[in-house]
Structure formats: structure tokens, C-alpha cells
């Protein structure tokens, strides 16, 4: 690890002036499950690390509950999200938190860390490979080993998948992000937090280098049906191959205000308008859920080794929709 200075401010106001206007020299530390790895592997070599672990106030709390709206501090640990009674109305989120990695990571990792972590592309993570995000001229995954990469690949050279499994459920639930920076506080929908990075000096999120994610707020209406489904090769310490989060309100038997968000298929969490449309105003049945799955795959352009993920996406959307509707999981044997 390259030497760095370490700062542990106790308030956001103390933390902000420690940040730079550009990426590279300063990194924020939350749970450390991503940053420490990157430092040890010489993928990130900050000169200054600003820790958010000592922040006081609501940074590590969940305030409020259920339909009235809950504000989740960015420093809330994954394990506390997974087990939160205040968030019981949002199984799409809590089940996703419960499935992240293993107990050690869940005990250290935070909500903010999950949303702001860097991607897990094995070329990006290799010190000796100069990919697009590290100043290289091309993306080695395009023609290389890409079985876990994006299947929505149009419009960007870098074909990472966004690693956060909390982003899709938060977007499906219509959550907003509270961000502070040198110019003060701002609030944006969580879905606006992400971007497809295409070159060195860009992150997978849209926050400025001198901004801090403070909290995420969910103000979902009562009775909102929601669920997430992940396809994983293993049940332990595993990234999903694909993920889908679905949320809708029920009007009698029909689904209203449907949101379908796809994870691990593109450089950002992806809101699927076509999948949502396939369910909107309809009863959620195996047939309509299947149709939503098929609709979610519109526009895919898989790489040489990952066409199988198209099938997985179709199934994940279908199963998430059925779970949200309260159907008995037909896939559980």
C-alpha cells in the first residue's frame, strides 16, 4: 500500500474541506471492504484517506419507518439494513442486503459504500492491465473474458456491470439520495446517481469528488408490493449473475406504477420502462411476469461469452415480479 495520510472527521462539515475537486488523490473510506482491496492491489493509490467511520449524528441511523418514509444514513451497515424492522415494508431492499457477500462483509460494509463502490471487473482490478478506466485505449473485456460482464453494451466502450445490489431495489422503491458538497445540500433520485464511466477520472456514480452521500430516503406509499431476485451460482459470498427489482401498487388485482430495475447487466442499474409497461395495469401472473421478463431484454447486445445472461435476466424479472405479487415461488422445488 502506498503511504497515505488518514483523517477521521467527526462531522460532515469537517469532512468536506478535506476533499479534492478531482478524483485520484483523495478517497473516502466507509466500511473499507472495497477501498482497502484497491489500495493493496495498487489499483487506487490515494495520498489521503478521509474516513467516515467517526461521523456523528444520523449518519449511521435509520430514522422513520414504513409508508411515512424512512431515511437511511449512508453509514448504516449492511447487516442492519438486512435486519431492520423499520424497513420491513421493503423486502426488495432488505433481502438484497441480506444476500451481499458473507457475514464479515455485511458487518463492515455500509449503504453508502455499496452505492459508491467501484466496479468488480477483473481487468479493472488487475494492477497490470491498463483498461479504459485506468487510462488505457481499449476495453479488454470486449474481446476477452466477459462471461460476467454487461449485456446492455450499446453506447459505451467499458462493459462493466454496476456492482451495487442495493441500487436496483432503491431505484424501484423511488428512493432519493441526500448529498452535501461545498455548495451545500442537494437531493436527487437514486437513479440519477449513476453513470457509465468511459475513461480515467470517472466514477460509476455522478457525485462530485468533493461531495458526500449522507443518506437515502424512501417514501413509498403504503401497500407497495416489492421484491428483488438474484441469480447466483453459489449461495455464499457471491455476486449475482443478474438481479431484478420490481415494485408496484395494487389496484384491486392490477399492478399500478410499476417499476422494474435491472442489476448486473449494464454499467449502471437499469430502469426498464418496457418491462414496467408489460405489467402496468395488469394482473401479475406467470404469463404477464414472463412477458415482463422478455420485455426487459429488449435492446440487449451480449458479448462473446455472456449470452446466457439474457435468459437469466428474463427469469430474474419474472421471478421478482411474482415474488412481489406474493405468488408461491414455483422454482423452489
Amino acid at each position: 500500500v502506498k503511504n497515505f495520510t488518514y483523517h477521521q472527521p467527526t462531522t460532515i462539515q469537517m469532512a468536506l474541506p478535506l476533499l479534492d475537486a478531482e478524483w485520484g488523490k483523495t478517497e473516502l473510506l466507509a466500511g473499507g471492504t472495497d477501498l482497502l482491496d484497491r489500495q493493496k492491489e495498487y489499483v487506487s493509490q490515494p495520498e489521503k484517506v478521509v474516513s467516515l467511520t467517526a461521523l456523528e449524528g444520523d449518519f449511521r441511523k435509520i430514522v422513520g419507518a414504513g409508508a411515512a418514509g424512512a431515511t437511511i444514513g449512508a453509514g448504516v451497515k449492511l447487516i442492519d439494513l438486512a435486519e431492520s424492522k423499520q424497513l420491513a415494508a421493503f423486502p426488495a431492499l432488505t433481502s438484497a442486503a441480506a444476500q451481499i457477500a458473507g457475514p464479515q462483509i455485511r458487518n463492515m460494509g455500509t449503504l453508502g459504500g455499496s452505492l459508491c463502490q467501484r466496479n468488480r471487473c477483473w481487468y479493472f482490478r488487475d494492477e497490470h492491465v491498463n483498461c479504459l478506466l485506468k487510462g488505457g485505449k481499449k476495453c479488454p473485456a470486449q474481446e476477452g473474458e466477459n462471461q460476467y460482464h454487461a449485456i446492455f453494451t450499446s453506447g459505451h466502450q467499458c462493459v462493466i456491470v454496476h456492482p451495487s445490489t442495493l441500487a436496483p431495489p432503491l431505484i424501484a422503491l423511488g428512493a432519493t439520495a441526500q448529498i452535501v458538497g461545498p455548495k451545500g445540500a442537494r437531493e436527487i433520485p437514486v437513479e440519477k446517481m449513476f453513470q457509465a464511466p468511459v475513461k480515467d477520472g470517472q466514477r460509476e456514480h455522478t457525485l462530485a469528488p468533493n461531495e458526500i452521500l449522507v443518506s437515502v430516503k424512501i417514501a413509498a406509499p403504503a401497500g407497495l408490493r416489492n421484491a428483488s431476485y438474484e441469480v447466483k451460482q453459489r449461495e455464499t459470498c457471491e455476486w449475482p449473475l443478474v438481479q431484478a427489482s420490481v415494485a408496484f401498487a395494487l389496484d384491486g388485482k392490477t399492478a399500478k406504477n410499476v417499476r422494474v430495475v435491472l442489476g448486473h447487466v449494464a454499467p449502471t442499474p437499469l430502469v426498464s420502462e418496457t418491462a414496467a409497461k408489460a405489467l402496468e395495469g395488469k394482473e401479475v401472473t406467470e404469463a404477464t411476469a414472463s412477458a415482463a421478463g422478455t420485455a426487459a431484454c429488449e435492446g440487449v447486445r451480449p458479448l462473446s461469452q455472456n449470452e446466457y445472461k439474457v435468459q437469466l435476466l428474463r427469469v430474474a424479472v419474472k421471478r421478482a415480479a411474482l415474488l412481489a405479487a406474493g405468488a408461491k415461488p414455483y422454482w423452489e422445488g
Partner: protein, 807 residues
């Protein structure tokens, strides 16, 4: 005198005994090599080639030597041993010649200009030119000799440093300036096969692929003609890593007398001490290897390795102990692998299940070089014994990747998958239960065998009994269904089986065990062997305690130090069948010594003395003493016994039933396959295994369960993936090199067949052989289509289904 052999009445042997060092391991009190910290210890690290194939264009360590905390550097692969002709300190030149006794080599003489990046070592100490005189032996390392050195894989060693902290060592490594000329590389087998004329690995010759090695028995063409059905498929298994939980490496420390001690993570303490003595010209008696606990080797930890030799080299240069343990990336890329195998298999058989012909063309890769571990398909697999007509052909493909090392049942898991997949595919074509075809083609009992209780005399009977037990424990008769015709629509049920065989004889090298009985009744059992996973302390404690009427925790077992006498490396499942008999003989000899010494003092004849639980009895005089009372009569003396065992000793007449070899095993797997996602869940594994006399039933069952877990990972998760363009492994970690966790593990039912009349047989390797094949066959049974390559990832399962499986 004929050996007394194993007791007929067994109090402890064959029961379930908890590991006597279990609490030490569970609490962290046990010190592994990684945990050893010596006073003034430095940290060693190795600089490695980032390229799969390159030549060093330039190297400059000047800046590295100035990094804070830097203590020593070695440039790997360039130091040479010379004899001093003339050391001229004024001119800064050293005239040298080649040492004598280099067989057949021409004598070479040269003058070396001694610049600041030239290192001179004499008597394992760095020296200055002025310290040397004519006829001194000297090791000379000229940094610039590394220029032009060819590196054959991403991870090949370039240089190493020692520094006061790990961070400073890393800083120093980063400060070594190396430029490389990149050369063409192949890191995947199909690229080599497409370019058969191009060579990118060491040695002369054209291409990276060997000639076809072929073996034919009978008339395969006629055998296929005779068949009622023929199945043909292309199957394959990937290159996988041992993934030892404790990585390879050691701590090396030189003492003032020129002796070298290493605390190595090894499966051969005596072997490592000997290798170090040879490499550094240290007298055998002064080269010591200590391995009290080690965290997994699986065949990859016999020698000191480049890293171990490098640590000792850095330690002598720095004049301080050096710890050099590999990190996870190094562990996976350089510390050994299990070779791949893939190829076309054709098999024919009759309606009653008789296999009439078998034909295989396959290839595999060990990396850039490899020895005995790549004799894939040279091993006659279980069935091939009885198939009248077969042809097998194999080629080795070399690639620019780290080399193979032996891995838990070398060659067998690969052969088992390739053969057992074909057998099930044939059973499906014949429309019969795969258990029928397996029973039908078992090797027969050999009534001519000299020894009626041996494997050869009874193998058919043993296998059939194993099938009976496995079928009962798995519910085979109720659960088996024709492929693809089982219960479930989206999630389909399947059950499969596979069988295996292994040796498990004692080692060819002698293992010595010493048992000492003290006057306070305490007992010490001492041997240089190591605990690779046999629960070896407990094995030796059980055997000693059984003979002396004590309990395992009463015995102090000292293992893992090379100076405790000869022992063999833990390979080929030889440890328990070598160590348990040696302990038996040592304990019996110590008991006899005790009787001989104490009998006169208690007015007894040694012949009348016997041991019962916790006491010594005198039958004739109807007297008895507690163990402690009796031992107290030793006075100032102690009783001692030595035991030695090897394959040679086992072969001597009268010793047949103390140890032997050859085992069989039958495993079944029950799975659920999600046909929409391709995700495989193993529900239940049954493993039926014989291993002769069971010493510790608990540890045996645990060994078998461990083998099954390893095989499950092989079947479902593990695979080294390399990128053709960069030549680098993309998953040198535990993130995308996948191993299952506790939630991925099935119920595992282990059935040990205890056959004490056969003596002790090794159990380490056999139980991992057939697991992957059984799981692959269960998936075939579930979806009705073969997934030909493992690991059975969602991608591969979905691809197979798309080609015409379930639905």
C-alpha cells in the same frame, strides 16, 4: 520373531476420537508457519513477471536499495557457484573458475568486475572482495546477468527483497526498475492446438504440444462392432488450483554455527530440510525444518519451492530471519495446479451392460512445464481393467502459465470424470440403470491371490457391498429414473453415481516413531512426520494409548520436526499406513522394555505381564498395579521403544495384516437443477469407502467428507480463467475463483467399511476422486442431456439445455 500385529480386542481403534489438538486449532493457540515471528525478523517478497512470456531487457535495483527499511535483494536465476582464482580488491575484480566435479562440463574461467550490484557470498555470508582468497568457494550474483533471461508465465520470478516491514518490502519491489521485451504467448490450450508449430515454453523443439502417446489393448474396432449401443462425447475438466488456506512459504533463520532452521508450510519436513541442506551446502544435521501445524497442501507442498529457497537466501544476505509467505494471487498463479483434461470418448456395450470397447483421445495442460502429475490417462481407470478392447491416446499441451504440482489423487479425478461420464451416457443409450453397468464391469475377485484377504482377492465382493450400501443410503432404487424423466418441471431432480480406486500403501521410505515411557507414567510419542490432514497427532496417540492401556489425551505427541528421525512426505495417502504401524511397533517395544525393566523389581516374569485399561497385570501371581504405580518402579530409568515402517517392511512375511493397500469407493449425488437458470444445487452426497483398519472413525469420516467437499467444488465452481490477449489469469483470487461456502454444501452421508484384517490403508486421496463425476452424472439424470464440461456453471447448464435437454 513374527510381528505381534494389531490387538484382536480393540478398545480405541475404530472408535470416534476427537482430535487431541482440536482445541489448539479452534482457539488459535496452534502456531502455523504463517504465525511464526522471530526476533529481528524481516519480510521477503518476490517481484514477478507481469507478462506471460518475455525477456528481461534491463534491470536496475539502485533505487530499491535506497528504500527505507530495505535489507537485502536477490536477483533470481542468475547466481552461480565458483572457485576463487584471484580476488583483487584494488582492481575490484574477481578471477574465478568453475568448481570441480561438474560431471563432464568444460572448465570455465572468467574475471568478474565487482560493481555495487554484484553480490558475493562465502560460507552462507555476504563477503567483500577483500575477504576472499584463492580456492575459496564463492557464490556470485551479477545483477546484469538477468538481462536476456526468459520468463515463461505471468508470475515467473525476477527478483526478491527483504525489508523490515511488509510495506517497505513492497515499496522496494516497486522500486526495482525492470524493462521487458514481450514475446508471443499461449495461455489457453485451444490456441496451442491451432498453432502446433510455435514454441513459447522452455526447451528446444517445435510447438508446445507433445507427440500422441497411444496404448491399445485387444481390438477396439471389433469391440464396437459387437456393441448393441455406442455413446460418444467430448468431455472436459479445467485447470484448478489447490487453494491451500495457508499459502506456501516459510520463515528462514540462520544460526551462528552456520545452521539453517526453516518453519515451513510443508507436507515433508524431512524432505524440505534435506533440500535446504543440499541447496546451501549445510551439513544435514544442521538443517532443520519445523512444521507443527500446516494449513493444507494437497500435494503441492513437498519441496521448499523457489520462494522457500529465496527466503533462506535473503536471510543469509541480511543476517536476519526472513518470512516469505505467498499472497493469494501468488498462491494461485505460481504454487501449483491440477492439470486439465478434455477429449473425445467413445464407448460401446451390450444390452446386459457389458462394455465391449472404449476409445479416448484427450489432452491436458500442466502449465509451462510439468512432470509426473500430467500422466493423464496413462492410469488404467477402474473399468479399463475389464474392458477387453480399448485404445487410449493422450497429448500434453504446454502453455505460458504456472506449473502443475501433484494434487489429491493425481490423474484420477480427471480420468474419473472422462470415463464415468461416458459410462452413464452408454447406460442411457442402452436404457439401463447406471448401477447395473457399473456392477457388470467390475474387476473380478482373483481366487489365485496369495493373500485371501487382500484387495485383489475380494475387490468384486467389496465393490458390490459398497454399491449395496450406497444404494440403500441414497434411496437409489426409489429415486433413480431414466435421464430427464424425474420429478419436477422447472426444477428437475436427478441422482447419479461414480466409483473410484486408489492405492494407499505405506511409503517406500522408512518412517520412524519413538515411544518413551517415563517414571511418572507419562508417555511421549515422537516422529518427524507432519499433519497434512490425517489428524496425525491423534492417530499416533490412539495407537500408543491402545497398546499401553491409556487414553489418547494421556499421550504427548511430538511431530513436525525433521530432526526427530526419518519420515516420508505426506503423498499418495501413505502417511497413516506408514505412521500407524511404526507407532504400533514403537509402543509394543516400549511396553516390552517397560516389562523387562520393572518385572525383576516386582518379582514377576515379563512373560506373565499384560496391560489392561489403566493397569498392568501379573496373571501368574494374580497381582495388578495401576499404570502409574507400575511405571514408578522404573526408578531413574525410562522405557523406550522404536518402530520403523515402510512398504519394504510391510512386504516382509508375517506383516501382511499390519498395513496394505488398494481401496474402492462408491459415491452417489442427488441434485436439483433449475432449468431456467442453470443453477445446480446438490442435496445429498453418499460416500462409501473402505480403508482397511479404521484407526479413528471420526477423522476418517471427516477426511471423506472433506474429499467430497473438494470434489463438489471441482464439479460446480472451480476454474482458472486466463485472458488470451494479456496472458494473465483474470481470477487469481477467491472472488471469481469460486469455492462453495457452507450454504452450498449438501448433506453428506459417509459410510466407512471397517476391515481390520487388512491392516491400515491410506484414506486421504480416494474420497475426492469420484465426487465430481457423480454430480455430473446426477445433473445428466436430472435434465436428460449431458453437460460435458465442468464446472457445471449456469452458463454451461443452460447451453446444454439449449442444445436439446429438459423442457
Amino acid at each position: 520373531m513374527p510381528a505381534e500385529g494389531w490387538p484382536k480386542q480393540r478398545r480405541l481403534l475404530g472408535t470416534r476420537v476427537k482430535r487431541i489438538d482440536g482445541p489448539d486449532k479452534a482457539t488459535g493457540r496452534a502456531k502455523y508457519s504463517y504465525d511464526i515471528n522471530r526476533k529481528g525478523m524481516l519480510y521477503g517478497m518476490i517481484l514477478r513477471s507481469p507478462y506471460a512470456h518475455a525477456k528481461i531487457k534491463s534491470i536496475d535495483s539502485t533505487a530499491a536499495r535506497k528504500v527505507p527499511g530495505f535489507k537485502a535483494i536477490t536477483i533470481i536465476g542468475v547466481s552461480r557457484d565458483w572457485v576463487v582464482v584471484k580476488a583483487d580488491a584494488a582492481a575490484n575484480t574477481l578471477e574465478v573458475k568453475t568448481p570441480p566435479n561438474k560431471k563432464g562440463g568444460k572448465e570455465e574461467q572468467k574475471t568478474i568486475s565487482v560493481t555495487p550490484t554484484v553480490t558475493l557470498i562465502h560460507n552462507n555470508k555476504p563477503v567483500k572482495l577483500a575477504d576472499l582468497k584463492a580456492d575459496d568457494r564463492v557464490t556470485v550474483e551479477v545483477e546484469q546477468d538477468a538481462v536476456g533471461r526468459e520468463l515463461f508465465y505471468a508470475g515467473d520470478e525476477v527478483a526478491a527483497v527483504a525489508a523490515d516491514t511488509e510495506e517497505h518490502a513492497k515499496d522496494a519491489l516497486k522500486a526495482i526498475k525492470v524493462e521487458y521485451d514481450q514475446l508471443d504467448h499461449f495461455v489457453n490450450e485451444d490456441e496451442v492446438i491451432k498453432n502446433p508449430k510455435k514454441r513459447t515454453v522452455p526447451g528446444p523443439g517445435q510447438g508446445n504440444i507433445t507427440e500422441i502417446k497411444e496404448f491399445v489393448k485387444g481390438d477396439p474396432a471389433a469391440g464396437f462392432k459387437e456393441a448393441d449401443a455406442v455413446a460418444e462425447g467430448t468431455y472436459g475438466v479445467p485447470v484448478i488450483s489447490h487453494q491451500c488456506l495457508e499459502t506456501h512459504g516459510l520463515v528462514a533463520e540462520w544460526d551462528a554455527d552456520g545452521g539453517l532452521t526453516v518453519w515451513a508450510s510443508t507436507q515433508a519436513t524431512v524432505g524440505v530440510a534435506g533440500a535446504m541442506a543440499g541447496r546451501f551446502a549445510v551439513p544435514q544435521g544442521k538443517s532443520k525444518c519445523i512444521t507443527h501445524f500446516m494449513g493444507g497442501g494437497f500435494g503441492s507442498k513437498f519441496g521448499p519451492g523457489v520462494w522457500g529457497v529465496t527466503a533462506a537466501d535473503l536471510a543469509r544476505r541480511a543476517g536476519a530471519p526472513v518470512k516469505l509467505m505467498l499472497d493469494r494471487e501468488e498462491e494461485i498463479t505460481t504454487a501449483g495446479n491440477r492439470p486439465s483434461a478434455s477429449g473425445r470418448v467413445k464407448i460401446g456395450g451390450k444390452k446386459d451392460g457389458t462394455i465391449t470397447a472404449f476409445d479416448i483421445d484427450c489432452h491436458g495442460t500442466p502449465g509451462y512445464t510439468g512432470g509426473a502429475t500430467v500422466t493423464l490417462n496413462a492410469l488404467p481407470y477402474v473399468y479399463l481393467d475389464t474392458i477387453p478392447n480399448y485404445r487410449r491416446a493422450h497429448q500434453i499441451v504446454f502453455i505460458n502459465a504456472g506449473r502443475a504440482e501433484a494434487m489429491r489423487a493425481p490423474g484420477h479425478p480427471q480420468n474419473c470424470v472422462l470415463t464415468e461420464f461416458a459410462v452413464d451416457d452408454l447406460a442411457a443409450k442402452l436404457g439401463i440403470d447406471p448401477s447395473i453397468i457399473r456392477r457388470k464391469n467390475l474387476p473380478p475377485n482373483n481366487p489365485q491371490s496369495k493373500d485371501p484377504i487382500s484387495w485383489v482377492a475380494r475387490r468384486n465382493t467389496i465393490y458390490n457391498e459398497q454399491f449395496d450400501i450406497a444404494e440403500k443410503l441414497s434411496g437409489w432404487k426409489e429415486k433413480w429414473h431414466p435421464p430427464g424423466k424425474g420429478r419436477g418441471t422447472t426444477v428437475k431432480h436427478g441422482i447419479g453415481m461414480a466409483i473410484h480406486t486408489w492405492g494407499g500403501f505405506p511409503s517406500g521410505q522408512v518412517n520412524q516413531v519413538d515411544v518413551t515411557i517415563n517414571k511418572d507414567g507419562s508417555v511421549t510419542t515422537q516422529t518427524s512426520t507432519q499433519d497434512l490432514g490425517t489428524a496425525q497427532r491423534t492417530v499416533n496417540a490412539i495407537v500408543t494409548a491402545e497398546i499401553l492401556g491409556l487414553n489418547p489425551p494421556d499421550i504427548t505427541v511430538k511431530i513436525g520436526e525433521s530432526q526427530y528421525g526419518p519420515s516420508s512426505g505426506s503423498g499418495g495417502s501413505t502417511t497413516c499406513p506408514s505412521q500407524a504401524p511404526a507407532t504400533l511397533l514403537a509402543a509394543q517395544a516400549a511396553r516390552n522394555d517397560l516389562f523387562a525393566k520393572v518385572a525383576p523389581r516386582v518379582g514377576a516374569d515379563p512373560k506373565d505381564l499384560a496391560i489392561a485399561a489403566g493397569k498392568v497385570t501379573d496373571k501368574k501371581n494374580n497381582k495388578e498395579w495401576t499404570w502409574k504405580e507400575f511405571c514408578a518402579r522404573l526408578g531413574m530409568d525410562e522405557a523406550k521403544g522404536k518402530g520403523e515402517w515402510s512398504q519394504g517392511i510391510a512386504n516382509q512375511e508375517g506383516n501382511e495384516n499390519i498395513s496394505s493397500g488398494q481401496v474402492g469407493g462408491v459415491q452417489t449425488a442427488e441434485v436439483l437443477v433449475d432449468t431456467e437458470t442453470g443453477v445446480v444445487k446438490v442435496l445429498h452426497m453418499v460416500a462409501v469407502q473402505d480403508c482397511g483398519l479404521v484407526v479413528n472413525k471420526l477423522a476418517c469420516e471427516s477426511q471423506v467428507a472433506g474429499g467430497v467437499i473438494m470434489g463438489l467444488n471441482y464439479a460446480l465452481f472451480e476454474e482458472i480463467i486466463r485472458d488470451s490477449a494479456t496472458g494473465r489469469q483474470v481470477n487469481p483470487d477467491m472472488e471469481f475463483y469460486k469455492l462453495g461456502g457452507i450454504r452450498d454444501m449438501p448433506k453428506i452421508s459417509v459410510h466407512m467399511m471397517d476391515m481390520p484384517e487388512r491392516g491400515v490403508i491410506g484414506i486421504g486421496e480416494p474420497p475426492t476422486i469420484s465426487t465430481a463425476a457423480a454430480i455430473g452424472n446426477a445433473v445428466f439424470n436430472a435434465i436428460g442431456v449431458r453437460v460435458p464440461f465442468i464446472p457445471l456453471s449456469p452458463k454451461r447448464v443452460l447451453d446444454a439445455i439449449a442444445k436439446g435437454g429438459a423442457k
